[in-house]
């Protein structure tokens, strides 16, 4: 699980072009949205694409992203429970 969390942080920084953010700065329990990362609704859609592309998880309802993307902890747990690749 710890590896998955670190992997997720790397992917989020890369996919969302967070050039000024380091892996160490993203805490496992920090809110991904509404916090210091400055993410917006397009970033949320990009994370939905990431779930599909890298973990084979298709979210039919984009609104569900609000629950899943609360923090790295919650996102990693969701991936662990639902991944198909």
């Amino acid at each position: 699980m710890e590896n998955l969390k670190t992997e997720l942080k790397h992917k989020i920084i890369e996919v969302l072009n967070l050039e000024d953010v380091s892996v160490e700065e993203i805490k496992d329990t920090d809110p991904l949205f509404g916090g210091g990362l400055g993410l917006d609704s397009i970033d949320a859609l990009e994370l939905i694409v990431l779930l599909d592309k890298d973990y084979g998880i298709k979210l039919a309802d984009p609104k569900k992203g609000k629950e899943i993307f609360q923090s790295i902890d919650i996102m990693a747990q969701f991936i662990e429970n639902n991944r198909t690749k």
Binding site: E19, D20, V21, D43, L45, V49
Partner: protein, 192 residues
């Protein structure tokens, strides 16, 4: 007096306050070199310029290349002062084709079909105008034209109408062209 005379008189009443050129890995403002880089590609050059000029605006990294080009050029001119009454009139030749191609690549294959929302939002040329407006909290008139070549008279006439109508006190006007490895921005601030 012939009509052309009055047209010229009117044009002469407009003032070009300051101008920025961005090409060949160089940024110049009113002829003065502001930044120069050894980088060969626009993305590298833009990243270096962003750091060197200490722009401190993380959203810059999310922009497509056309928006980065327009943003950098505009930033050189708009960084100081109040721009709540500054309009934006920009133009180029290749529209958003550079980004359109990138988006197309992400949907070419049925097996690897992952359209990127973050790329898609830049598949219009006037998004760069929006990025500048967001940065400077501008809720002013704006226009983006796709032209065969830089037509200063056309852009200045349009800008002058905005100024004379009272809808703006200043107009950031100019050319922001980018396609693959080729890029050039020439923007300037006009006022009456």
């Amino acid at each position: 007096m012939p009509q052309w005379y009055w047209k010229n008189v009117k044009m002469n009443m407009m003032k070009k306050i300051t101008a920025c050129t961005l090409e060949n890995s160089k940024i110049t403002v009113d002829g003065n070199l502001i930044f120069e880089s050894e980088s060969n590609t626009f993305p590298e050059f833009a990243k270096e310029a962003y750091k060197n000029l200490e722009l401190n605006y993380p959203k810059f990294h999310k922009m497509d290349s056309l928006s980065k080009l327009a943003f950098l050029a505009a930033e050189m001119i708009l960084k100081d002062g109040d721009h709540s009454r500054t309009a934006l009139v920009l133009a180029n030749k290749s529209s958003s084709l550079d980004t359109d191609f990138k988006y197309q690549e992400s949907i070419n294959s049925q097996e690897n079909y992952f359209p990127s929302p973050a790329v898609f939002v830049y598949t219009l040329p006037n998004i760069c105008v929006g990025e500048i407006s967001i940065k400077h909290k501008m809720q002013t008139e704006n226009a983006f034209f796709v032209l065969d070549e830089f037509d200063e008279n056309f852009l200045n006439n349009y800008s002058e109408q905005l100024l004379r109508s009272g809808k703006a006190d200043k107009v950031l006007c100019g050319w922001v062209e980018l396609f693959q490895e080729n890029y050039k921005a020439f923007v300037y601030l006009l006022t009456l």
